[in-house]
Symmetry: C2
């Protein structure tokens, strides 16, 4: 039984956009199991932009210590167990990290029932559209966006897993849905998802005017995954009583000094509200949301895209690529 696995650890804190030398691929011998432990063989793990802030510790969670395995959601198989909770062969999801395998206690994992998954709702959806990105879209839109049929929503990073899900959910609720994405390929993808309009920010010099042109009557909801100038451009296009959902601020994560927004007086004149969310606050409603989204997927009104790379070696590159704007759907690493 091979107990030697490879895993990516944090070797240096990034200063701006992370570089490959921030990560070290190390070999590790998994220990013998104590009582109530399991050994997991990783099948998939995710690379997430939200992990960026953990690398420096400027977020709500503490900084990841140097030398620790990079954290992420993952799907794995129980290959050894001293726990009554899990048998060899069980599939589980949890915070596995960028690793080929691990030994851990039998808490903090969720067993996946293979009967719930098929070609339409794949098991990887558990850490994608039915996981953090999809649930962020669901609760951000419903609880903070408070959408009403006929309203106009603008969604930044519309080709990303959160944005793509938000747009389709909004469409199914009768909204006029406008996406912002970078480059022709992504814009084509966003259009295929059923968005009414898409703005290619890389082809625009004046975002305020671009949004105004796409939304001549103004914006009721701005679902923001980007922050900075894009958020500010949306703010000046908001209608009276507009809602801004702060889901992600990817343009800010790698900056030594944040850019932020200028137009706070619009909050008075246009009675705007802006609120941010951390999806784990809604944990007691996850199951209902997942069931509702699985139903929409099977009905064909919610599609999701996965961008799967093979092999643990490419994880840092896949992660760094997120900040160069080349992500398209949920980015996963498959470990064969």
């Amino acid at each position: 039984m091979n107990r030697t696995i490879k895993q990516w650890t944090l070797s240096k804190r990034p200063e701006a956009v992370p570089t490959e030398d921030c990560f070290a691929l190390v070999e590790h011998d998994l220990p013998e199991l104590k009582d109530n432990q399991v050994r997991i063989k990783t099948h998939f793990f995710s690379v997430d932009p939200g992990m960026r802030s953990r690398l420096n510790g400027d977020s709500y969670a503490a900084a990841l210590p140097l030398g620790n395995v990079i954290e992420s959601a993952g799907i794995g198989e129980i290959v050894e167990s001293t726990s009554s909770r899990y048998a060899v062969g069980d599939m589980v999801m949890g915070g596995l990290g960028w690793t080929q395998g691990l030994v851990q206690g039998d808490r903090g994992l969720q067993k996946l029932d293979p009967a719930l998954f098929d070609d339409e709702v794949r098991m990887t959806a558990a850490i994608g559209i039915l996981g953090v990105p999809g649930l962020t879209a669901w609760f951000g839109l419903q609880d903070l966006g408070r959408p009403e049929s006929g309203e106009t929503i603008v969604i930044s990073s519309a080709a990303g897993p959160v944005g793509a899900t938000t747009g389709q959910l909004a469409k199914s609720m009768g909204l006029n849905v406008v996406g912002i994405a970078g480059g022709e390929e992504k814009c084509r993808y966003v259009t295929q998802l059923g968005f009414d309009k898409v703005i290619d920010y890389k082809a625009e010099t004046d975002l305020v005017q671009a949004i105004k042109k796409a939304c001549p009557d103004g914006v009721d909801i701005y679902f923001d995954n980007v922050g900075g100038d894009m958020l500010d451009a949306a703010i000046v296009n908001m209608r009276i009583r507009g809602r801004i959902v702060v889901s992600g601020q990817i343009s800010e994560y790698n900056r030594p000094t944040p850019v932020g927004i200028r137009h706070t007086t619009q909050f008075i004149t246009h009675r705007l509200s802006m609120a941010g969310l951390v999806v784990y606050d809604y944990a007691n409603r996850f199951t209902d949301a997942q069931a509702a989204m699985a139903k929409l997927i099977r009905a064909g009104s919610l599609v999701y895209s996965e961008d799967i790379s093979q092999g643990i070696e490419g994880a840092p590159q896949a992660f760094i690529g997120l900040f160069n704007g080349n992500n398209h759907g949920r980015r996963l690493i498959q470990i064969s």
Copy 2:
């Protein structure tokens, strides 16, 4: 009967802080009354920071045309009437403007019942603590601040009419109340009002640290009348699920380019929400709020301060002084 009155008109649009040459004191002959009109002799009018944005038209209302009388709330006496609604001697409030008198139709005024007022609740309260500033404090705090006993609120421009009212209302609801004001005299006034702590921003070099020191456990509600760097300093001190009430942004009104805020990622990490208000949206609840505040005034738990200048000539100086931070209570002009 003297029909010649003096009034202040807009002669030039201000570029930054308004200067005296933006205003012209002109003599005007009031016309003969047509049917259903009244002639009003002004007793008091207010000078309001919110008027600043009307001078350039960068707000939700259109710009005031050059040559028009400067607008404001006022209290006056009916001195001539062809209306069945008003008799000579009636006291009214309405948007009288910076004028000694005016002729207008009999709509858009509110009759003041002298029996409702006394030494405790003076008639000038109708355009002060029971008018726009007091109602802004009431609805901003209750509807957007959603205060709970034991929480900590920070209030900027705490010696101004909105801030002073907000702080006393919050205190009566069991909050820990911290004010920010400029200069020893204002800070003394804020302390006299019953605020638990006051920060003299003119004596501080680092507002983030000053707020942190005054609120070591963080801020639940930030009631903002200022904007810019002060708002940003409050944001980094907010507790999880903190609420920011955008009541005024006086630091931004005279700037060619707004300064805004930097720390939008805090909205995610700390689940913050920020919302602005225009008090007229709550018009159908004004009467109840005024009755509740009048009761607090008579009970001695809500005091208000008026800064009354005599004579129409000083109105521009009184207005300009608002932006130099030398206001203290509600600023009114009394016309003898």
